[in-house]
């Protein structure tokens, strides 16, 4: 519960102080199909290696299945499928990031885990309108890095829109 409130705080904090350009926040960077994404670090519960997942029949295609994380049942979501990507080139040793949403745990299956980056608010830009609609829906904005762009994942949206 505590973590949950904290998450709420950060996000509201973040939106309120966007004009405060010198402020920064920490993001865990991940890679899905070559694209770098960021997840606000406080929303990350856990990072897991490859896990054995129990398939859930009749579930939405993005749902890879369920797994047991220290006694809690976690729903695994295939991030590639969620982003509308084919999964053919996914590496074998995939990683997972566990996030909490509405008191439930979700594990996003991704390709690679990167560093935790502290990014300045002045580098934050809203999601460009030309982005793929699916991507636009699940991202809260974009950070300009030195050599690439980092898309910030909006975790609640990412999860809530799975069944639609």
């Amino acid at each position: 519960m505590d973590t949950h409130t904290e998450i709420m705080d950060t996000s509201s904090d973040f939106s309120n102080t966007r004009h405060d350009l010198e402020k920064s926040r920490d993001l865990l960077t991940i890679v899905i199909a070559g694209q770098r994404f960021g997840i606000p670090i406080l929303q990350v519960q856990d990072v897991l290696g490859e896990q054995s997942v129990t398939k859930v029949p009749l579930a939405p295609p993005e749902v890879a299945g369920s797994l047991n994380l220290r006694g809690r049942i976690v729903t695994a979501i295939n991030a590639r499928k969620r982003l509308g990507l084919e999964r053919d080139d996914s590496p074998h040793n995939s990683m997972s990031v566990v996030v909490e949403h509405m008191d439930e745990l979700y594990s996003l299956i991704i390709d690679e885990i990167g560093d935790v980056m502290r990014l300045k608010n002045k580098d934050f830009k809203p999601t460009p309108g030309t982005l793929d609609p699916v991507w636009r829906e699940i991202s809260s904005g974009v950070y300009r890095l030195d050599d690439e762009l980092l898309v910030v994942l909006d975790i609640p949206k990412f999860i809530e829109t799975v069944h639609s």
């Binding site: 054995s52 129990t54 859930v56 029949p57 369920s66 047991n68 006694g71 729903t75 439930e104 979700y106």
Partner: protein, 948 residues
């Protein structure tokens, strides 16, 4: 203190804390309808509960507060800060009274006229008198002090009047001082008032508030010693502890982890058994198991806990409304997860109260419509098909369809045309909509339209559903279905297409292995698999098919014909015979593993739409597994018309002789096996013959603190003086007797079909049981031999042992259809005894334990040739039953035989007067049989006479 009151206080204090927060929020978001609704409901609950606990002062304050909130909710009144302050005042007053009740056990003296007047003023739209200009502090302080009606309070008021208050009506330092003085003078500890008054306003001068809180803390700390009533506190508190469910949840998670780790350790240990760790590991194993069980237990509670206060509520309700209501509770032991229990507690209370208030009519109306004066509310809980079902039935007036329709139209929920096209069932569901109430008058009990709305919200919150069926004039039945979420169930683990699934053991009837060929194989009827299970055809579904577990390659093939999957495979398959309601079907699986105790966890939100699963869980090996919902599978399998549940429930209470009877087989004296209906046998004991005593020429043994007479089945049974002998113990109420036999052989399920009439005393005759001629023992003969008074205690007069036998067996001599007998008797002993007697005599017997059940069958249109009814029964006696049957029912012409307990001429006359055709002393078997055949033949004559 009354347990109910104590519970009410705990609950109310919790609600009040919530209220404070919510009200502050409301002040900031005056248009938040959800919030308003919530606050309204909280106050409504407080009001409703105190009505039943006889707390008139508290009720009054809450009632008037609720009035104002009701206007906020309806949007009639703008939520102005000063109104919120007024509500705060009202809440503070509630807190004060609650605090007083807590410390003294009763409501404090004094009245709240002023506060109520203000609330009413706002309610009636007059606004607060001069509140804008004067500063409402004077009003407020008077409200706060009005209860401590001493001179000090007056002086406090004088002092404070004219003091310029802040816009939100803060209390000044002086006021507080004065108040404090007043409180200290007033009898009893009153700190809560001061606290309550000061805290929510929050903006009192700093020193004052610190001082205030400091004083109160000290006072509070001293209170336990000072106040005489406070002594009860510790003893109450030490017995139980309120623990946050989150803590338990955490504990549970940790224990699960511990179990998993333990399992891994055991795995390692199995690999190298010669390890030094094995000893400690074994004890760890045991401790962990105990711990797991203990933690699980902390979460499970019998549903009876939530019902404990209902009888009182119903009692008070009947007093208040002048109704006669009886509450019957069935299945109190059904265990529920604590969290779920908490959540359904209020809705249940609300609904039972509603049934009493809206459902049951007053005695006069009931009498006029031919119902017993006492209305009955039946509350029943049981497990079914992986769910917990709670039913609330009343035999009241049911839902008035016209009123509901009118209300729906008035509230614009639907148009008259739309209603036209709806079934009654659909229309009835409208009562669950917010703001709907058909009670003409808003009473303190219900009628504000919050009721069913709250109920539904709370039940849906835990993933449950609520249904209503009502018949105008006959009562309503609410069925609440709660998923087993978090409950512990035993589940069968099966495998299909290399995936494992759990099926709740409750719905599994049996397991059958189907071989690829041979007799027990799966057969096809136009692509639909079926299985011949003994004498009936069992429809099958393949788990692989309904879960679409085929690999994509097979999928195309499977599309063409699902049966291919089943047929093609040469392996043996298992069929899990599953029961949903009273519909049986088989689930085809590849493998069957063990059963495991599992903790059902709800599935993630995004998977909740799949109705084939009722939850998921973690198995002992740490893997996640989905729990199948047999109901969902049955629906998916196309069995849409699953018989209504109450049908299935009733089915259980029926036992017809067409069904098999469990028989205990034993030998005694001669080689022929003997049999007795197992249901008659209370216990099997081995009696040490050395302990057998003789008294008045009879054998006795001390058994459970009483002398139990013993009797050998026949004189061929050798009873020595040492060793042990098996004894069949028969017991009814506080009497028991033992029948000495030689050897217990077996228990068999057989149809009793007595083919040879026995001429030996104590035997009904012979029947073929387990392919052997078997003597069926007449227990009644022995009971009577032991104790002439055995049946007298049931009120019967001495019965003639030498009554002629054999004449009674006339029922189906011509080989036509068996005569159907309905046997109604509340004593299971007699029911079990008479069922075989009657079926042996050639009747087709249906036995029921109460006339109410019988009337239900009557309503359903079941027909019988003759009714045999006991007279003394708890809910409805035989006379009343007969009156009902004779009054106006399909059974009006069915002959009835009374089994009397009091066969005095007066009783017999009364029996005949209410419509019995015959009156027989209870368990005068032969007379009964004679009377029955006599009655039946009389009846036939009469019937044919009228035909001609």
């Amino acid at each position: 203190m009354d347990e109910l009151v104590a519970e009410f206080l705990t609950e109310t204090n919790e609600s009040l804390d919530e209220l404070d927060v919510d009200l502050v929020n409301l002040e900031q978001n005056p248009n938040d309808a959800d919030l308003l609704g919530k606050i309204f409901r909280l106050v409504h609950t407080i009001k409703g509960t105190c009505g039943f606990l006889a707390l008139p002062r508290l009720e009054k304050v809450a009632h008037h507060g609720e009035n104002v909130l009701g206007r906020f909710r309806d949007g009639d009144l703008e939520v102005l800060p000063e109104y919120v302050t007024l509500i705060f005042e009202c809440i503070d007053q509630i807190k004060y009274i609650v605090g007083e009740i807590e410390s003294t056990g009763s409501e404090p003296d004094g009245d709240d006229t002023e506060l109520i007047a203000k609330l009413d003023a706002v309610y009636e739209g007059r606004g607060l008198n001069g509140s804008e200009s004067d500063g409402n502090d004077s009003n407020e302080s008077s409200a706060n002090t009005s209860d401590s009606d001493t001179n000090n309070a007056d002086s406090a008021e004088e002092k404070s009047s004219g003091y310029p208050g802040g816009p939100t009506g803060n209390i000044s330092q002086e006021e507080l001082d004065a108040l404090e003085a007043a409180f200290q003078d007033a009898p009893g500890p009153e700190t809560s008032n001061a606290n309550g008054a000061a805290a929510p306003n929050g903006s009192t001068p700093p020193e004052s508030s610190t001082e205030q809180s400091a004083t109160s803390t000290v006072e509070e700390a001293q209170n336990p010693e000072k106040s005489p009533t406070a002594k009860k506190g510790p003893s109450l508190a030490s017995q139980s502890l309120r623990v946050n469910v989150d803590v338990l949840e955490n504990l549970m998670t940790m224990v699960s982890e511990l179990v998993l780790t333990r399992n891994q350790l055991l795995q390692i240990q199995r690999a190298n058994s010669e390890s030094d760790f094995s000893g400690p590991l074994q004890s760890l194993n045991l401790v962990v198991s105990d711990l797991q069980e203990g933690v699980m237990k902390t979460r499970m509670q019998p549903i009876g806990n939530a019902w404990a206060k209902l009888p009182r509520i119903i009692r008070d309700l009947s007093m208040e409304l002048g109704k006669k209501i009886e509450l019957e509770m069935i299945g109190q032991d059904t265990e529920l997860d604590r969290q779920v229990l908490e959540l359904i507690k209020d809705p249940l209370t609300h609904m039972v109260r509603n049934s009493g208030d809206h459902g049951i009519e007053d005695p006069a109306t009931r009498k006029a419509s031919g119902k017993p004066e006492f209305g009955t509310i039946i509350l029943e809980a049981f497990h079914e098909g992986g769910h917990i079902i709670i039913q609330i039935k009343d035999d009241g007036k049911g839902l008035a369809m016209d009123k509901i329709k009118q209300k729906i139209i008035d509230n614009g929920l639907a148009t008259a045309e739309e209603l036209e096209g709806m079934a009654d069932q659909q229309i009835q569901q409208f009562i669950f909509k917010a703001g709907f109430s058909t009670a003409e008058k808003v009473t303190s009990v219900s009628g504000r339209g919050v009721g069913m709305d709250v109920v539904r919200t709370n039940i849906e919150k835990i993933g449950g559903s609520i249904e209503l069926s009502s018949k105008e004039g006959f009562g309503s039945t609410f069925t609440i279905k709660i998923p087993l979420t978090l409950a512990i169930v035993s589940a069968l683990i099966v495998e299909a297409a290399n995936e494992r699934f759990a099926i709740p053991q409750l719905s599994v009837k049996e397991l059958v292995m189907a071989s690829h060929n041979g007799e027990s194989r799966i057969e096809m009827i136009k692509g639909a698999p079926v299985f011949r299970l003994r004498d009936h055809l069992l429809p099958l579904v393949s788990l692989t098919d309904i879960l679409q577990l085929n690999t994509p390659k097979d999928a195309n093939k499977a599309d063409e014909n699902t049966s291919e999957n089943v047929k093609e495979d040469a392996r043996n398959r298992y069929i899990v015979v599953t029961q949903v309601g009273n519909f049986d079907f088989g689930i085809i699986v590849d493998r069957v593993f063990d059963t495991e105790e599992i903790v059902v966890k709800p599935v993630a939100k995004m998977l909740r739409d799949i109705d084939l699963f009722s939850g998921n869980t973690i198995l002992g090996d740490g893997s996640v597994i989905m729990i199948l919902d047999p109901n969902g599978i049955a629906r998916q399998a196309g069995e849409l018309e699953i018989a209504p549940q109450d049908n299935a429930v009733e089915q259980k209470s029926l036992s017809t002789s067409q069904e098999k009877t469990s028989l205990l087989l034993f030998s005694a004296g001669d080689p022929a096996p003997k049999a007795v209906p197992l249901s008659l046998v209370a216990r099997l004991e081995n009696v040490d013959l050395e302990k057998v005593e003789h008294s008045a020429g009879k054998m006795m043994v001390q058994y459970r603190g009483q002398l139990m007479p013993l009797i050998p089945l026949n004189h061929n049974v050798q009873v020595g003086t040492e060793g042990e002998k098996p004894v069949l113990v028969f017991a009814d109420r506080d009497q028991s007797m033992g029948l000495i036999v030689d050897e217990i052989i077996d228990i068999k399920e057989e149809y009793i079909d007595v083919q040879l009439d026995g001429n030996q005393q104590g035997l009904f005759g012979s029947a073929i049981i387990d392919n052997k001629a078997t003597d069926v023992v007449d227990v009644a003969y022995f009971l009577n031999q032991i104790n002439q008074n055995w049946f007298k205690n049931h009120g019967d007069d001495d019965y003639d042992k030498n009554a002629e036998r054999g004449n009674g067996r006339a029922a189906n001599q011509n080989g036509t259809l068996k005569q159907r007998v309905l046997l109604v008797d509340d004593s299971p002993f007699f029911r079990n005894m008479l069922t075989p007697v009657l079926s042996i005599a050639g009747y087709d017997v249906t036995s029921l334990d109460s006339p109410l059940e019988a009337l239900k069958m009557c309503e359903k249109g079941e027909l019988f040739d003759i009714i045999v009814s006991d007279i003394e029964m708890p809910e409805m006696d035989g006379f009343e039953f007969a009156t009902k049957v004779r009054e106006n029912s399909p059974w009006v012409d069915t002959p009835m035989v009374a089994l009397s307990s009091h066969a005095t001429p007066k009783d017999i006359d009364r029996g005949m007067a209410v419509g019995f055709d015959q009156y027989v002393a209870k368990f005068d078997r032969d007379t009964l049989l004679n009377a029955m055949s006599q009655t039946l033949s009389d009846h036939r004559h009469k019937a044919s006479a009228t035909q001609h």
